[in-house]
Amino acid sequence: DAGVTQSPTHLIKTRGQQVTLRCSPKSGHDTVSWYQQALGQGPQFIFQYYEEEERQRGNFPDRFSGHQFPNYSSELNVNALLLGDSALYLCASSKRGTGQSPLHFGNGTRLTVT
């Protein structure tokens, strides 16, 4: 049973560039949430996708956008990268409608902006 998988594991970008991170949810899950975890902090909610639509959004600027595909996988796009975007980006999946099932996290993508 495959868990949540994310790619790439590490990424180095320059200020102003754009980046795309990818996530495949755990088998049987249909909802994907993205989190940003800066060094020494807890994860911060970016947004959630279900049925290929953004359902909830945290306090992140429009430079952060996403997409969910029919197979439930998801992408996180960040435009006009800033140094402050350097962080671990975590993807979490869950099964909607199954009550209060916990989120399952992937290993994350470590993004470094120079």
Binding site: V4, T31, S33, Y35, G40, Q41, G42, P43, Q44, F45, Q48, Y50, R55, Q56, G58, L88, L90, A92, S94, R96, Q100, P102, L103, H104, F105, G106, N107, G108
Partner: protein
């Protein structure tokens, strides 16, 4: 504004000691409180506490939820070096499952 506060921020203990981690919260429409363990990258799920389950135990780990005083405790007894990790507390609201509010975490170091 919703917030989750964990304490202490870090601690160092010897193998065999007992560790108590604290998490206080203020969340509108509270639904559940979750504990995660983060060693390198992916936070791994430990416990979920709700109105219908305010005490959980698994091996040497246990957790309680006090909905009146708005806090939770995670206990680890007979600590081992493998317990060294960051422990994250997160709270979910009834109208926003998938959107968890996390605390900053408590870093636990268990020395031999």
């Amino acid at each position: 504004e919703d917030k989750v506060v964990q304490s202490p921020l870090s601690l160092v203990v010897h193998e065999g000691d007992t560790v108590t981690l604290n998490c206080s919260y203020e969340v509108t429409n509270f639904r559940s409180l979750l504990w995660y363990k983060q060693e390198k990258k992916a936070p791994t799920f430990l416990f979920m506490l709700t109105s219908s389950g305010i005490e959980k135990k698994s091996g040497r780990l246990s957790s309680i939820l006090d909905k009146k005083e708005l806090f939770s405790i995670l206990n680890i007894t007979a600590t081992q070096t493998g317990d060294s990790a960051i422990y994250l507390c997160a709270v979910g609201a009834t109208d926003s499952w998938g959107k968890l509010q996390f605390g900053a975490g408590t870093q636990v170091v268990v020395t031999p």
